[in-house]
Symmetry: C2
Subunit: 136 residues, 2 copies
């Protein structure tokens, strides 16, 4: 089915592309080049050229998180992401719609903060002045 996806987009089916889509598809979470470079055999130039082609064909999404790295994932239904400042985990948020912004088209939402696990270990008063929203 990976082949037919590429055919639909009129992309030449190469072994590098199949490999890359299979890896992204099996992981189903946002990954950086570093995360998967040992899982793929292609050159990094090929990785970036293909990722960028996949993005322009709407097969892949990307965003940047806390580090200086970009994260890529297979595009499924549109969803937001949450990056934890403590453990640096990136979570895909399923059901969270972004707020209303009249006149704007929101394509992506990225939230940062402290995830459920880490929140329990963090003293709230250390966050004085930083809190946008603290959930109950």
């Amino acid at each position: 089915m990976i082949n037919s996806i590429m055919q639909e987009k009129n992309l030449k089916i190469t072994s590098a592309r199949k490999e890359l889509l299979e890896v992204l598809n099996s992981l189903k979470r946002p990954v950086s080049f570093e995360d998967i470079k040992h899982k793929i055999t292609m050159d990094k130039a090929t990785f970036y050229r293909n990722i960028s082609k996949f993005e322009s064909e709407s097969l892949v999404n990307s965003f940047e998180s806390n580090g200086k790295k970009r994260y890529y994932e297979i595009r499924q239904f549109p969803h937001a992401h949450f990056v934890c400042n403590v453990c640096n985990t990136i979570e895909c948020l399923g059901e969270i719609p972004p707020p209303t912004l009249v006149g704007y088209t929101i394509l992506d939402a990225l939230y940062k903060g402290i995830c459920r696990n880490c929140t329990q270990g963090v003293c709230i008063k250390d966050l004085q002045g930083e809190i946008m929203y603290n959930s109950p």
Copy 2:
């Protein structure tokens, strides 16, 4: 008053730090190192060391946008940002609260999409499958 801010945080008051805080304070919008490197006289190592110290002292906020650059701004009241994928403009969103995420502490929100100006020039059908939320 810039001096007293640094005193409160027990930061040594140096000319580089005064210069950097003054520039950030006068611009009052998120800027990258590139944006302001011609406005400051310090070495880039000093810039990054001070920005990072300011961040850990809660004087400055940072986030990454579409490019591979990081953006820094004086921390005022907490607010979200909107990055336009078309014109790459970064807007500070004043009154937009992030959604509820039970158990999580949200410290930052970054939305991407198409800003008010650019939305008028974009054909909605080009966005098939990408739309998270299209405002009325």
